[in-house]
Amino acid sequence: MALDVRPAPPGARAAPPSRRRRWRSRLSRLDMSLSPYLYISPFYLLFLVFGLFPLGYTFWVSLNHWEIIGGHEFIGLRNYERLLTDDQFWNAVGNTFAIFLIATIPQLVLALLLANALNRKMRAPTLFRMGVLLPLVTSVAAVAIVFTQIFGRDYGMANWFLHFFGVHSVDWQANKWSSWLAIATMVDWRWTGYNALIFLAGMQAIPRSLYEAAAIDGASRMKQFWRITVPLLRPTIVFVTIISTIGGLQLFTEPLLFNNGYMNGGSLRQSQTVAMYMFENAFQRFQYGYGSAVAWMLFLLILVFSLFNFLIIRRLAGGEK
């Protein structure tokens, strides 16, 4: 993302001294100097009021004991101290990471495979690309509702399918692992095709001559994939992983609807995510201060984990030297 600093076009040339001309040139100079600020101002105004202010204010609120009725009192970092020993918070963190891992790892592998398949000469390539992207255009709540039904205990299609393999009536909502798996399936269904298209774009940028050279040296298809495609795709893999991290750690709609709209994520909080816990504190217990502390912790988690992912992937996809 290099910023390009090309000079702007030269303005109107200095006008000859006639009164009307001078007036016009002054107007045009004003236009030239003020217009840019005018044009970019809507974003900054909006961001100031609805973005930056809330962000800073979240931090301030998080330093207070702040409930919907009554005043608020400054308590410093006590909300954060409480968070560190709050089992429900750590439970939510654990759930979020578990769902994230169960969803993301297979998703990246599947997306790579799909992209590799799409990266061939074929008939109707646009049709195939649209096909894998189809889940993305479904509305989120609709996906959640349909999959919740598929993962129903008594009449769900997943259980009907599993009974052929001798597995009987899994109560998907009731247990940690099963609810994580069901939610991860929803996420993967929705995002795998999208990530495959991003990988495909990255793959198309790899020069074919590299593969030809490898073929001359007798490298097999497998070897070409692991030694050429994956290492050269590293920037794209990093990008996709970070986007998935940001999205995955904020997971909210799918687990919420999977639990029929209950913020607690099931009676034992089996599938409550951090975002749900924040929401529960702020909008059901009306503890704005504590909810805001959760929000800041979530932000920190995302930041740290994105960095961590970045370092790991850079090492993994680098291949052995």
């Binding site: 961001f47 973005g51 195939f128 909210f252 709209g261 924040m278 979530l298 932000f299």
Partner: protein, 291 residues
């Protein structure tokens, strides 16, 4: 000796060219993938056309029935979901946000790409930085702002904060810097056009491809927005996603009713996708777009 190597090289290159052709296995993999993608959508439609008898059926039904109209009537007559109102709300919010995002992002993108002003790079960096901050971070104080403005429960609460995004500005800036030749702007200047005139008649037409992708994505994103409408709106004036969630918690046994709702909520996106699929794919693959 040399000819042997050359021949081997030639064969290998020809072989690799053949390898780029899709094999039957490739088609099998892809068709399987697409079937998995499409099935839940198809199933959604099937259930929406049935009666609630299907709930316990073994095996589950895989063919559409004839009760779509009936289920639709029940959906729109339902007094708790306010589904018709929700559709109108979502349509208005998505259209306004998409239109305004494209307009203001193009304007700002043009300024960043083609105009010279003090602090340009620093201001652009601010925009890139805002793209990194997750939305949910600010949801609690944003809600408090809405309480102060007396906007809770009102549609503008889900529109105004999103009228222009940092992502939109950055995307249009990237596109404008390569799609609009400087000479064109210079020529218009020499002809005495004002800056806004240049934007309107020279730059905006050149930005059309990126603008349409941005509009499509913004529309889809706003249509799918859930956590914020759920927080700030009231159950009697919801958006589509919120209304679906209401149905889901109140009628979780009435599958045909819920599924009729999911079908209606998905149809507008589906139409957009079928008509503009090619542009959407182009937008994603240019790496310019994150959904």
């Amino acid at each position: 000796m040399r000819t042997v190597i050359a021949r081997r090289a030639q064969r290998a290159v020809a072989g690799s060219a053949r390898l780029w052709q899709a094999s039957p296995l490739t088609y099998v993999v892809l068709i399987f993938g697409i079937a998995l993608s499409a099935f839940p959508l198809y199933w959604m439609f099937v259930v929406a056309t049935r009666t609630n008898d299907v709930v316990g059926a073994v095996p589950p039904p895989f063919v559409a029935g004839q009760h779509l109209g009936e289920n639709m009537n029940r959906l729109f007559d339902n007094e708790q979901a306010h589904f018709a109102k929700a559709l109108v709300n979502s349509a208005i919010a998505s259209a306004v946000v998409a239109f305004s995002t494209v307009f203001f992002s193009s304007l700002a993108g043009f300024a960043f790409a083609k105009l010279r002003f003090r602090g340009r790079n620093a201001l652009l960096l601010v925009i890139v930085a805002t793209m990194m901050v997750p939305v949910q971070m600010g949801i609690i104080p944003l809600y408090m702002v809405m309480v102060h403005l007396h906007w809770t429960g009102k549609l503008q609460a889900v529109i105004v904060p999103f009228l222009v995004t940092g992502f939109g500005v950055f995307m249009m800036r990237q596109y404008a810097s390569q799609a609009v030749p400087d000479e064109l702007i210079e020529a218009a200047r020499v002809d005495g056009a004002s800056t806004f005139r240049i934007f309107w008649s020279v730059v905006l037409p050149a930005l059309r491809p990126a603008a349409s992708v941005l509009a499509l994505f913004t529309f889809m994103q706003t249509w799918n927005e859930f956590i914020w409408p759920r927080a700030v709106l009231n159950p009697d004036n919801p958006t589509v996603q919120y209304s679906l969630a209401l149905l889901n918690s109140a009628y979780f046994n009435d599958y045909t009713l819920m599924f009729a709702g999911t079908v209606v909520a998905t149809v507008p996106l589906f139409i957009v996708f079928v008509v503009f699929g090619r542009q959407i794919i182009g937008g994603i693959m240019e790496g310019a777009v994150k959904a």
